[in-house]
Structures are given as C-alpha cells and as structure tokens.
C-alpha cells in the first residue's frame, strides 16, 4: 500500500441520488452482529527503509509524503533531556530551556515579533524538553514552507532566551512548585518513581525553589549550545513535500552547523525496590489513590505479545478488563481502576496496577486486585477473553498509520529507541499466535506477588481503619513481607523530607 495519495478531494463528484436501492447485499439482516462475515483487511505496513534519509552531520529524517492538502508538518526530536547536562548544570535547566526555546524570541526577533511573524503566516511552532528526549515542531502551509523553515531554524540555532519571558515562566513554575503537595495524583506519581528507581536516579530528582531561582539566561544558552545540534536530531517530516527537496532544504540548514557533544547513554537506576506497604498521609481528602506493582522488563523482550495480552485482560483493557469490572461492579468500590505492564526503553519499566476509591474501601479494593494478580497466574484465561483481547490489538493495528504524520512519527520513535522495524511487519501474526498457556506462563514469570510494592496516598487513618462492614480485610494485613512504612510529605520548595 502506498501512502502517496492523489488529489482525491478534487476528483470526487457530488452525486445526489434521491432513491433507488442498489442490488447489492440483499441477504437478510443477521440476528446478531457475531454472525456478520467480514472480508479480510488487506493491509501491509509501509516499509520504513523507503522513508529513511541520512542527513548532514549524523541527523536522520523520516519523510512520508501526502499531497492531499497543502500542509507540511515537521516533528523534530532531539536527543537530550534532564538526564544529561553540560558539566555541573543546575537541575531544571533542560525543561526551562525547552520551553523558552519557543517563547524567548530569536537573535533577530524579539519574542512578541517572533509570535507575530508566525501568526501572520498561520504557522504553529512549539518546543519542549522532557526527561529523555526533547522536541520541537512546526506546521505550515506549503506556500510558506521556506519562510517558516527559516523561522524554525533561527529559533533552533539562535534563540534569544529573553529575560522577561524567562522570568514570567519562572514565576509560574514557582507557583506550581508551591502546590506540589496539594494533589494526591502528583504525590502518587512522585513517590511511585522514588519507590521504583530510588532517590539518586535523575528521573526522581525534583527541582527546588533555589535551583529555579538560580537559573539564568546564560544557563539556558549553555544548555542550548550543548544539546541542540545536528548530531542529536531526528526529523519526522510529513505532508505536501517531495523527499529530495525537503532533504536538501534540511541539509542546507544543517551543513554549516557543527556537531556538538554526543548526548551519551541514559543512566540506569541500579536500585532494588523494597516490597512493602507505603503510606502517604493527606488529611483533607476522602479518596485514596493506590498503586501496586514492581519492576517489569525492557522493550526488546520476546514475550512482549503475551505480556500485552495478559495485561489487557488483567487491567489494561478498560471496561472489559478483570480489575476494572470487579472493582467497579462491586458497588462504588472505585471510580477508576486498571493496570499497565511497562516495557522500559532505557532501563526496566514497571508493572503497576492502580485505582482510586473512597478511603474506607481502599483495603477491599486492594485485596481484589491482589486476588486478580494471583488468579491470572494460576488459571488460564478464558477463550472469550483471549479472543476479544487479541482482536482488539490486531484489528486496531492499522490506526498506527492513520495519517502520514503518524507514520513518520512512529518510524522516528522506533529509530530513537533503536527498535527493529520488522516488529511492525510481524506484529499481527505474533499477536495472533498467543495462547492461553502463554498468557499464564508470562503471568507466572513476570508477575511477582512476593515483590510487590503497595503505595497508598490519602487519609491514612481512614484507609487503615477499613470498612466497618468488612472488618476482616485490613490494609496492614495485606502488606508484602509485613513491611509497613510511612512516607512524610517533603517541603515543596526544598524537597527535603522531614525525619520521622
């Protein structure tokens, strides 16, 4: 299948037919949709190698054409993030550099003028740096491509980092920081990372108010100099472009741009999570948030297909999954519930089942999730569950390629993660080959009830007291290895945890 489309919209004819049933499909309507017979779907994923281009100075581009509309989209991912920094950089510099790249103007244009230029061209441009990757993107009309590329690369290469805009961003960031302990969602996310990856890993380092205060435009410029260069660039280009032309255009910007320092490897945590029940107390909430799990595995794992189906049946599949239907159908036990089996890109991901429920129901809901983890290890899943799960993965596979932009983006993320593109070609057959026995085997091999970490954030007294109608189910009784610990709330500005 080619993704190259002709100008179909122009070719379509308007035909208004007032009546006249066609002679097709005159059989009776079947009684139930299960009796419908569908044709096979003739779909082969596009070949990534046909779209891959090596640019100047080690940059890579994936280009997927689609000439239906006169629009061009460029998504640039930059190999950088908070995992890396030049010398003794201040924490938080990556994130602020990423947002100020777009907001802070360029060498020749003050921030407001840069905004005005882009608005006049009806172009949209954005940027942001996360933990292990940064991105910058641009979308414009084909007729304005040259002008927009000029602005985009001026932003990338010569950002101004305007002081006033930076200070505005810092004051907003400071206000968010003050609210760090306000939401149980934020607390749960933070503490789960620390329980899985320890306090020393870059992924669990929190920015302090002092760090933020000390950041200067010079720091941003230095980080920009270190991180933003062709050696770290991976482009996903899509839309109304000829590959040769866009490759030449990108190269013209890259060729004069010296390659900087390589980003290096993302550090591994080297931390062994400790099984146990961890409690974080928040006085004023009536809902408990619970996460329960342990480290999982990495992306290249050959058991991935069976693991995805196992997780889908256990808790990943929304309303049809076991955890959701049991925890929810048990009247109001939880508002939402689910599970995720993560495959880490740079280090082990985590398996995490999570739910939110009213404080007194936390113990019972936790017990149910633990039962379900045991059950999927000890009994084969039903044929019906297996079939529904497999079908939902297989039948929705084509959605990955629903547009040129998605196709280019998918290829770029495979490249970035160093994955084998053949995965896409064999995905559906690999998924189809999974059996109930495989699901039970991977559940036994990869789910470890003895290693579970249970994190509960909420009103600890109410959660521990449990439900008076079910006095036999108590949260402390469910603590893995009998280990119960309390985690205090840190000072939101210094991130120092008080001694207990």
């Amino acid at each position: 299948m080619s993704l190259r489309k002709t100008r179909q919209l122009a070719l379509l004819l308007t035909v208004i037919l007032m009546s006249g049933p066609a002679a097709l499909a005159q059989q009776e309507i079947v009684d139930h949709p299960r009796d419908l017979v569908f044709a096979g779907l003739d779909f082969e994923p596009p070949d990534a190698s046909q779209h891959r281009y090596e640019l100047e100075h080690g940059a890579i581009a994936f280009v997927v054409e689609d000439h239906e509309l006169p629009l061009v989209n460029i998504a640039l991912s930059i190999r950088t993030g908070s995992f890396t920094a030049p010398g003794q950089a201040t924490p938080g510099v990556a994130s602020l550099t990423g947002s100020q790249l777009r907001s802070g103007g360029t060498a020749s244009l003050a921030p407001a003028d840069f905004d005005e230029e882009l608005d006049f061209l009806a172009a949209s441009v954005g940027s942001g740096f996360g933990a292990t990757s940064g991105n910058a993107n641009m979308n414009c009309l084909t007729k304005d491509l040259e002008a927009c590329l000029g602005l985009f690369f001026e932003m990338l290469r010569e950002p101004r980092f305007d002081e006033e805009r930076m200070n505005l961003a810092k004051s907003q960031s400071r206000q968010s920081m003050e609210r760090r302990n306000d939401s149980t969602t934020g607390i749960e996310r933070r503490e789960w990372s620390r329980l899985m990856y320890g306090n020393e890993h870059f992924s669990t380092q929190a920015l302090t108010a002092a760090d933020l205060e000390s950041l200067t435009t010079e720091d941003l410029s230095a980080f920009h100099q270190f991180a933003v260069h062709p050696g770290n660039f991976l482009f996903a280009v899509s839309g109304d472009i000829e590959p040769d032309m866009i490759v030449a255009a990108l190269n013209s910007y890259l060729s004069e741009w010296p390659v900087g320092e390589a980003a290096g490897d993302v550090p591994e945590p080297g931390f062994e999570p400790q099984p146990g029940l961890y409690l974080v107390h928040k006085e004023d909430v009536n809902q408990g948030r619970v996460s329960l799990g342990h480290l999982s595995t990495r992306l290249g794992n050959p058991d991935r297909f069976a693991l995805q189906i196992m997780n889908d049946i256990l808790g990943g599949g929304g309303f049809t999954s076991r955890i959701m239907s049991r925890v929810r159908s048990d009247e109001g036990l939880a508002y939402s519930a689910g599970a995720n089996f993560g495959f880490g890109v740079h280090y082990e991901g985590s398996f995490r089942a999570a739910f939110q429920s009213r404080s007194e129901a936390v113990a019972r809901a936790t017990a149910i999730v633990l039962e379900e983890v045991e059950r999927i290890r000890n009994e084969p899943v039903s044929e019906e569950e297996l079939a529904t799960s497999k079908a939902s993965f297989i039948e929705s596979f084509t959605r990955n390629f629903a547009s040129a932009g998605q196709t280019a983006g998918l290829f770029a993320s495979f490249e970035q993660q160093g994955r084998d593109f053949d995965y896409l070609n064999t995905y559906r057959e690999n998924m189809a080959a999974v059996t109930a026995a495989d699901v039970m085997r991977v559940a036994q091999e990869y789910l470890h009830p003895d290693r579970l970490v249970i994190l509960a954030v909420g009103n600890v007294d109410d959660m521990l007291a449990g439900d008076p109608d079910h006095p036999d189910v108590l949260l402390e009784g469910l603590a893995p290895a009998g280990n119960v610990q309390r985690i205090p709330l840190p000072d939101p500005l210094t991130m120092q945890y008080p001694e207990q």
């Binding site: 299948m1 993704l3 919209l9 122009a10 379509l12 308007t14 035909v15 208004i16 037919l17 007032m18 049933p21 066609a22 499909a25 309507i29 949709p33 569908f38 096979g40 509309l69 006169p70 629009l71 998504a75 407001a112 608005d119 009806a122 949209s124 954005g126 933990a131 292990t132 990757s133 979308n139 414009c140 009309l141 968010s176 003050e178 992924s203 997780n311 990943g316 929304g318 309303f319 049809t320 159908s329 939402s336 689910g338 599970a339 995720n340 495959f343 880490g344 082990e348 991901g349 985590s350 079908a391 939902s392 039948e395 596979f397 959605r399 629903a402 547009s403 932009g405 998605q406 983006g409």
Partner: protein, 581 residues
C-alpha cells in the same frame, strides 16, 4: 472499551466551529424515509470515521423535560432488543414493572413536594418523611432492579465494537444537535451499519432510572460543585429572556428527578426518526456498497409520526443593560455578552473576524489589557451563532488585585476603538491567513471532517461547509466597524462580575486564564491522562499529532486551554515512555 479521550473529542468539536472554504465534494444519498448519508471515500488509511447526527438539542425541549436531549446521549448506549440482554422478553417485563412502580412512587414524591412548597416539611428528599407505602414501593423497586441486573449484559455495546477493533466511540449533545461517532477498521463497515441501525430501530432504554441518576450526578459534579458552575448557569439564564437557550443543556435538577421513560420514548419517536437524521462516513470504503448497506439497514426504519417543528419562541429584544455580581472560589473576572445574530446571518462573518482580531496571543485584548496595561491575565472575545439566535462574548480574568470593573472599562475602550477606526490592513490579513490555513487543517483528519459534516448538516445543510470560508475572506475593515457599532451598545448587553471568595486558595497558575468550563475540561483530561496506560501510547501520540496540526485553527478563546492540553499530553507521553511501553 477504550473510551479514552472524551474531553479531547469534545474539544475537537469546539475547535472546528469556525468556517472555511476548501471545497468538500461528498456523495450524498437520501433514503425514502428521509435519512441523509454524506459519503467521502478516502482510500489509503484502512479505517473509516463514521457518525450520525440528530437535529435535536436542548433548544427543542420544553418546561418539565429539560435535559432529555442530553439524557439520550447516555441511553443510546444501553442496548437494544438484541444487544445488552440475555432474555429480551423477561427484560421487557421487568422494565414495564419498573415503570409502573416508578409511576406510583412519583405520586408519593409529588405529595411530598407539595408539602415542602407549603413549608410543612423541610426537604422532600429527606427519607424520614416517607410513608410506609412509599417505602414499600421503593423496596419493590430495588427488588425489581436486582432481578433486572441478572438479565443485563453490562457494556455489551462497547464490548462488541471493541472486539472488532473499533475505537473512539463517543457522543455529544449541544443546544441544537446531538452526535454519535466512532472509528471502525475499513473491513468492518457493515458492523457499524448493523449496530447503529439496530439501536435506532429497536432501542431498549434499560437502566433508565439509574442512568437518570448518573446524569444527575454528572450535573452535581460539573455544575453544582464547581466554583462558578451555578453562577454561569444563572448568567446564561439572565442573558436569554424568552429563548429556550436560557436553560442548561444538562437540564434543571427538578426535571432530571422527574423525567419518565414514557416522555423519553415520545421524544425519541419524533426526534430520532430517520427523517431527522443524517450520517457521514469518511475513510476507506466503496460508496456503492455503503449506499446498499444504508438502504438495507437504515431503510427498514419507518419515518417518524410527524416532522419536527422549528422552535417557535423567539428571544425578546432587550430593553436595558442587565448586570449580576457573584462571589466564588475563582479568579476575579468579568463576562460581557451582547445579543448578536444566529449562525449564517449576513453579519456573522464580520463578527467572527472581529472576535479573532481581539483574541489570541497576538490579539488586541491580550496586547492591550494583558501585556501593556497589565490589568488581566487573559482576555478574549468571540461570536457564537446558534441555530435560532447568537451572542458575542468577551471574557477577562483580572490580574492580582485589579478590580474586575477596571478590566471591564478597558474592554469597552477596545470595543469603542473598533467602532471609531477601521482595523489595520496587516491585522485583518493575519486573521484571514489563519482562516485560509484553517480550511486545510480541518480536513486533515477524517474523523474531524466527519464530525464537521454532521454539524454543518444539522445547521444549514452540509453544503454550507463550502461557503462559509469565502464569506470570512470577504470581510472588510468597514464591515467590522459597522457590526461593532450595530451590536456593541450598552442596552444590548449583560454583564457578570465574579469576585474571589475570601476562602479561595491560590490556584494552579496554568489554569489562570481558563474559564470554568475549560477548567473542567482540563481536569477531565488530566484524570483521563492519569488513567492512561502505556497501551494507549499510540492513540495518545495520534491525538497529540492531530492536535499539534490543528493548533492554529483552534478558536482564540480556546487557545490557552488547547496549549495546556498539548502540554499535559506531552508530559503524560513522556512519563509513560519513561515507565516503558
């Protein structure tokens, strides 16, 4: 069922309300029962975006049944004679029994409501006031519900679609229309015809009374327990004097308590009849085959008992300025609303462009009131043309201790400037460039195009998708000056001013520029994102790519929310990638 990003889909709707002129040339087919099919085959991506619209919204309701149009959005997922039950016959008997019990219970409730009206009891919902007979009936009702539970297959409609690879199933209700939509793999189009025609042909409103309570709960969450929910509802009711646009889409609480299944069925018979429906398909399918299936599946549904009538009650001409003030746990703010024109009126294009001149990061209100005078954190204006009437609204959030009245005056100064001098050439061209680009951007996604076709069809016919863009390009500086002078008069406006309640905590600064509805949307998106798992990385990335492509076409008043949403999705994707896919 992976019903992941409801709020995002809703936003897509919001984001596609401006007009464009890029020609769309569908194949259109009408069945003998009056149902219209709008078909755009688009080979390539092996998926089909499919949906249908019924031209009914809260404007078509009447006193006593407000909220019924929205209730359907819930009831339509409850199954049919075939879907959602293990025994259709037994299920029907239980439903009739429940109706009869509910009717008797209702009489007891009416008596208690009467007593409360006379001050004889404090609250009619207080259980202590119930008579023994009333309690027995409630017990019987619970027993019957328990019996029904054994006959129901929960979420059957969802499960069947999910098992066949369909995704993104959802629905939405507005003042003027109700839409239902989904994506199906290209080879499963017949399933869509089966499922959608079945739920229109033999719907069973099982769990009616519990679903009514769910909607009631939704109202409590979205209106009653949000800082400005009730105030906004009051402002809207104050603005519209006689028009049915004055009541909320979700309905008044007393109506939600009282609605019966019979009333819902009557409403269904008229407004969900094929002569009031249109469907749109965009994607990889064969038009002849789709037309044949349309005839086979939807052709069997009979025309309704009567043609729905246009709404009769017109808005009264306002005689003098209306004002209200309120106190809430929110950023101090001012909302100014003028009566203008309905969707499609000859003055509407100039009002839409005027709104764009005022709004956005480089718009007049932001530059003047936010950046130069530093009175507000956010300010925007926009025209909203509904089917029977319209309004122009300017909203601004006051900065720090600035009184909202000061912001109000600064807004009037900007509106007076529009009356006094023509807008600049480059300023106008900027807006036109954005509209021209928006015409293409909105066609990028098949799903977005399908939804727009339905909305245009429900309004003034799908053809108007092709004419509204040119109308925007034709707007002149003089047009803008003229409409500003015509509509921005003191006696034509309503003003709401909200002060911050003493107890209000400082809030997340990222929410500062957002109105209440947007905050709720952000909160919902936040919750959905928090619940997203790595399995949803692909749909999340799709959503992100789609949204990034669309950001320039989002109406200026939603721009801040849109950007925050993109930021939240990016953050969540990064987190999930961290956790591993």
């Amino acid at each position: 069922m992976r019903r992941t990003l409801l709020a995002l889909s809703v936003l897509m709707l919001a984001g596609t309300s401006s007009a464009f002129a890029q020609q769309v040339t569908p194949i259109v087919h009408q069945l003998e029962n009056g149902m219209t099919f709008i078909l755009i085959p688009r080979p390539g991506d092996p998926n089909i975006s499919a949906g249908w619209v019924t031209k009914v919204g809260s404007v078509d309701e009447s006193a006593g049944i407000t909220g019924v149009a929205h209730l359907f959005e819930h009831m339509m997922f409850k199954g049919t004679e075939t879907i959602g039950t293990t025994d259709a016959e037994a299920d029907r008997r239980v439903i009739e029994h429940l109706d009869s019990l509910k009717g008797q219970i209702r009489r007891h409730e009416q008596e208690l409501i009467r007593q409360q009206r006379l001050g004889l009891i404090d609250d009619w919902k207080n259980v202590e006031h119930r008579t023994a007979e009333h309690r027995d009936l409630l017990d019987d009702f619970e027993t019957a519900l328990a019996e029904q539970k054994g006959l129901i297959i929960k979420d059957d409609f969802d499960r069947i679609y999910t098992g066949q690879g369909a995704s993104g199933m959802n629905a939405g209700t507005s003042n003027d229309f109700t839409v239902y939509f989904i994506n199906v793999p290209a080879n499963k189009l017949e399933l869509w015809f089966w499922m959608e025609s079945d739920r229109l042909n033999t719907p069973v409103f099982r769990e009616f009374y519990s679903e009514r309570d769910v909607v009631h709960e939704e109202r409590r969450l979205r209106v009653d327990s949000t800082p400005t929910g009730l105030l906004n509802e009051q402002f809207n009711a104050m603005f519209w004097e006689s028009s049915p646009y004055g009541w909320p889409v979700i309905g008044w609480p007393s109506d939600l308590y009282g609605l019966t299944r019979e009333e819902a069925l009557d409403f269904f018979d008229v407004y969900y009849a094929p002569n009031n429906l249109a469907a749109a398909l965009v994607g990889d399918f064969d038009a002849d085959e789709a037309i044949a299936w349309a005839e086979k599946y939807f052709g069997r549904i009979p025309r309704g008992p009567r043609e729905p009538e246009p709404v009769r009650t017109e808005e009264m001409v306002q005689q003098s300025e209306k004002r209200m003030t309120g106190t809430a746990e929110t950023t101090p703010q001012v909302q100014i609303r003028y009566h203008t024109v309905a969707d499609g009126h000859v003055d509407e294009p100039a009002l839409l462009v005027l709104g764009q001149i005022l709004s956005g990061r480089t718009g007049r209100l932001f530059k003047s009131i936010v950046e130069d005078q530093e009175l507000a954190t956010q300010a925007f204006g926009s025209q909203s043309g509904l089917k029977y009437a319209g309004s122009f609204q300017v909203v601004a959030q006051a900065k720090g201790d600035t009184p909202p009245e000061t912001v109000e005056k600064a807004i009037y100064a900007e509106l007076e400037r529009l009356k006094g001098e023509p807008v600049g050439e480059r300023e106008l061209q900027k807006v036109k460039n954005q509209n021209a680009a928006g015409e293409y951007r909105r066609l990028q996604s098949s799903f977005g195009l399908m939804v727009q076709l339905l909305i245009f069809e429900a309004g003034r016919g799908w053809e108007t998708i092709n004419t509204s863009g040119a109308a925007l390009q034709a707007v002149t500086a003089e047009d803008i000056q003229r409409v500003a002078s015509t509509y921005f008069e003191p006696e034509n406006r309503s003003v709401a001013i909200y002060y911050r309640a003493e107890s209000a905590e400082p809030e997340d600064p990222r929410l500062a520029g957002l109105d209440e509805q947007e905050r709720q949307t952000i909160t919902m998106v936040g919750q959905q994102l928090a619940g997203a798992t790595a399995e949803q990385l692909t749909p999340l990335r799709q959503q992100l790519a789609q949204m990034e492509g669309q950001s320039a076409q989002v109406p200026p008043e939603n721009q801040d929310m849109f950007e925050l949403m993109i930021e939240l999705i990016r953050e969540r994707i990064a987190e999930l990638e961290e956790e591993g896919e």
